[in-house]
């Protein structure tokens, strides 16, 4: 282990442990107004008229007519309105905000607002959708020849459901408009995303917009784009309030029902097999985007780039579409489109292997990419692919072969057991050329006269430990004790734009910029004076430029790798299963802090297991999400945690700080297929959708009995 990997006490530990850390809901509210959002009760309708009741002194309304700039939230495409102006597009679409001092009074008044609608036909089921927000095609190799020469052709459809980020701290922001300047603070991953959105909606120049991240109680992607939307809404209210801050803190139900989630998917795969090898893959990937585009383009891109998994398949044809429905807009969630396609491709490989009567793991290993292989987009795996060694580690830890054989025998009795394994990657950092062409990250180090150094960057610590790891890197390079290096929650008035806290990029990309900045500062170090150094992103030389219009080139400079085995015991009377063991090996390059990285791996893995089973969320026929509380949307508790053994396999990445690569998202991405593969063995039947419930298990048991 490198010395930098040695765990330290996290910078923000004590403040959080003793309850002193200030989250957005913790500020004194005596001088603040509260805002409550009126939302559409219809999935699709035209707004004919709105009638506001007479309001008591100190209360006022805010709607699209109050937006001083453009009534659009800048995300990727700017089709999300700040407040609905002509139509409402999903149940929950924000129409207006009622603002005033007392929350109960706000609730009472909100119920008196009358909105007249003309109902319009709504599309709830993605299969009925006729609008593709995004539609991508790419491929490689000779598909026609592969089909013509195939011994066998397999076709299967895989479905995945919603997943709610379920960060423990609900969304919340405070906005304040004073002397021509708007300040928004609160829970968020991307202060500069919020900054850009505010400038557009308020029609202000960038210097008149200030965004401050407060201690944030989890994000997992859920606070990537959503805070931009809420910020515009609250800021418009503050603009109208003239001098009094306005605060909006969501309750759990509002948060669960109306904020972005993981895209449900339908992936139809067709595979050609010749001489026991998959020679071609046709993947048709459909994501349910919801009512507005928000982040669907980029989520879909990552999803389809991973369509062929970790396998080297000579001919590939990929189609991806993000379809509009009149449901809540889906957005970012750890893994960002990849968990959907990895579920599909991993299960497909299992099923083909089973049909060919070959052990799935051996079948997968025969198809695996290796260093130098061509990626799905014609790029290269430039660095060693450590999967074979990681598979061996997991095999050993889990006693995989032995268990797999025992469970393969005919099982009797009420408990059936199974074990499964999955393999995956996560492309480290932004997809394609985003880092080079759009983000253009800038970081600074500011050295004070007394020798202390402050990091100036826009990364949010949302629990992943970035405050600690960035400081470790700089302290290490400057040979300073850790307490001499500090990193405050970003404030756009003080820090440059080093990009958003997304895509597992912060440590790898921004951490490396800071490492270089620290080296420069070291070489220029002067005792007793204040100094500042600045560092800009440069794409590594080896990268094959990526063209998004053709999906050609290196979609990622490098990859993090994951292997996971899951063992289950199913009760055949109830269909309920218990995970009796989880073993995983992850390669995220050099861990910058062992405890922090292991914590990310364990937390992500459990979210992935929840995704596969207990986390069930659906829109009903009207498009309403009914499981909007922790009693209906069940996430794992301490009772549900299996025995979990996680280890790291280090394949250092030369362009990351000390060899570190992207880490945060990786563990979630491929957990579901390992779990489902184990269940398939236990239940002796195929699984092609998640979440997989106890009822689903009973159905499968009945089917396999009949068979």
């Amino acid at each position: 282990m490198m010395p930098i990997s040695q765990s330290v006490i996290k910078k923000d530990h004590l403040a959080k442990a003793c309850g002193q850390a200030m989250y957005v809901a913790d500020y004194d509210t005596t001088q603040m107004l509260q805002g409550l959002i009126l939302r559409s009760p219809h999935a699709h309708a035209k707004i004919l008229s709105m009638t506001y009741p007479p309001l008591p002194e100190g209360y006022f309304t805010v709607d699209y007519r109050d937006v001083p700039g453009i009534n659009e939230v800048h995300i990727v495409k700017d089709d999300t309105p700040v407040y609905a102006d002509a139509t409402v597009e999903y149940i929950g679409d924000p129409i207006m905000m009622l603002v005033g001092p007392d929350e109960r009074e706000l609730e009472r008044l909100l119920a008196q607002i009358e909105v007249n609608y003309e109902l319009l036909p709504a599309i709830i089921d993605v299969r009925d959708g006729d609008t593709a927000f995004f539609d991508y095609h790419f491929g490689k190799g000779d598909m026609d020849q592969a089909w013509a020469e195939a011994d066998q052709i397999f076709e299967e459809c895989f479905e995945t459901g919603y997943q709610e980020q379920a960060y423990l701290e609900p969304q919340g922001l405070i906005a304040d408009y004073n002397q021509g300047k708007i300040t928004v603070r609160g829970s968020m991953q991307c202060p500069y995303y919020v900054h850009g959105a505010l400038a557009k909606a308020l029609g202000l120049t960038p210097d008149k917009v200030r965004v401050i991240q407060d201690v944030t109680g989890g994000g997992f992607g859920g606070k990537e784009d959503y805070p931009s939307i809420l910020a515009c809404q609250v800021a418009v209210a503050a603009y109208k309030a003239k001098g009094q801050p306005v605060r909006v803190i969501f309750g759990r139900r509002e948060d669960m029902e109306f904020t972005s989630k993981r895209h449900p998917s339908r992936c139809t795969y067709k595979a050609a097999v010749k001489n026991g090898r998959v020679t071609a893959l046709d993947a048709d990937v459909i994501f349910n985007a919801g009512a507005y585009t928000t982040l669907s383009a980029v989520v879909l891109q990552r999803g389809i780039i991973a369509a062929s998994g970790v396998y080297d398949i000579p001919a590939l044809k990929v189609h991806g579409a993000a379809i509009k429905t009149n449901t809540v807009p889906n957005g970012a969630y750890r893994g960002f489109g990849a968990p959907q396609t990895f579920f599909a491709v991993e299960m497909l490989m299992e099923h083909i292997a089973n049909a060919l009567d070959e052990e799935p793991l051996a079948f997968k290993l025969r198809h695996m990419v290796r260093q130098g292989s061509v990626t799905s987009t014609g790029g290269r795996y430039h660095f060693p692919v450590p999967l074979p060694a990681m598979v061996d580690e997991v095999r050993k830890m889990s006693d995989f072969e032995q268990k797999r054989q025992v469970y393969a025998r005919q099982q009797t009795g009420t408990t059936r057991r199974g074990i499964g394994i999955s393999l995956w990657f996560h492309g480290a950092g932004f997809t394609g050329s985003g880092e080079r062409d759009i983000i253009k990250a800038v970081t600074r180090l500011h050295k004070l006269a007394d020798g202390r150094v402050e990091i100036l960057a826009s990364q949010s610590d949302i629990g992943q430990g970035i405050k600690t790891t960035l400081c470790k890197i700089v302290a290490n390079e400057l040979n300073l004790p850790l307490d001499q290096v500090s990193y405050d929650n970003p404030d756009t008035d003080r820090v440059p734009d080093s990009g958003p806290t997304v895509a597992s990029r912060s440590l790898m990309t921004v951490g490396e910029l800071l490492r270089r900045a620290a080296i420069r500062l070291r070489s220029q170090w002067q005792e007793g004076v204040e100094q500042t150094v600045e560092e800009h992103f440069k794409e590594p030389d080896f990268v094959i430029p990526f063209y998004i219009d053709k999906f050609q080139g290196d979609a990622y400079p490098t990859y993090a790798w994951g292997v996971c085995a899951v063992e289950v015991a199913v009760d055949t009377l109830t269909g309920v299963n218990e995970i009796t063991g989880t073993w995983a090996s992850f390669d995220v390059g050099t861990p910058i802090d062992l405890n922090i990285v292991i914590g990310q791996m364990e937390g992500g893995l459990l979210q992935g297991l929840g995704y596969a089973s207990m986390e069930q969320l659906a829109a009903d026929q009207k498009g309403r999400i009914r499981n909007h509380s922790f009693s209906d949307y069940i996430i794992p508790t301490a009772m549900d945690v299996p025995l979990m053994k996680v280890q790291l396999h280090v394949e250092a990445y030369p362009d990351g700080p000390y060899g570190a690569k992207g880490a945060g998202e990786l563990p979630l991405v491929g957990a579901a297929p390992a779990y489902m593969s184990a269940l398939e063995q236990a239940l002796a039947g195929p699984i092609n959708h998640i979440p997989f419930s106890a009822e689903d298990a009973l159905k499968l048991i009945r089917q396999s009995r009949r068979a």
Partner: protein, 163 residues
């Protein structure tokens, strides 16, 4: 300073000090703590008794303060993280949580710390199962619970005699 009438308000012991709440008796203890007494270490994650972020101890028993009406706790002793952090036991828990990096986003943490206190007072040497049971009313979305379980185990070992 507001004049405190001896006769008004709901009297209870808050972190060792006698206090009176002037909130309506039906007000959630969570809101009384956060809004009236400005003790914001107690977090609100759901207001429905499901997440445990609002956990406090009443007479040593772990409760979700969002489900407790302040009117029902007259004369009882409420301990929040702000009071607990002054104790020797907290120091042991804090160190164990720090060493295991059991705090990620931190939103569940004050509740987890108090759940751990309740757990260790009942079972000073908890089994794995007792630890899982003891933390099962408190959701943590970040850690996957492994580090938390590890931290509780470590605290139990290091704090031998304290609980």
């Amino acid at each position: 300073m507001q004049m405190m009438n001896e006769q008004t308000g709901i009297p209870f012991i808050l972190n060792g000090r006698p206090v009176r709440s002037l909130s309506a008796p039906g007000t959630r203890l969570l809101e009384v703590l956060r809004d009236e007494f400005h003790l914001t270490g107690t977090k609100c994650g759901c207001k429905e008794g499901e997440c445990g972020a609002c956990s406090v101890l009443i007479n040593g028993r772990l409760v979700t303060s969002c489900l407790i009406a302040v009117g029902s706790i007259a004369q009882q002793a409420v301990l929040t993280i702000e009071g607990y952090r002054e104790t020797e036991r907290f120091a042991v828990l804090d160190a164990a949580f720090a060493d295991m990096a059991a705090v990620q986003c931190g939103f569940c943490t004050p509740g987890m710390v108090l759940a751990t206190e309740a757990l260790l007072s009942e079972h000073p040497h908890p089994s794995a199962e007792e630890i899982r049971q003891g933390l099962s009313g408190n959701l943590c979305r970040c850690t996957g619970y492994q580090a938390l379980i590890q931290a509780v185990r470590t605290a139990a070992q290091r704090g031998a005699g304290l609980w």
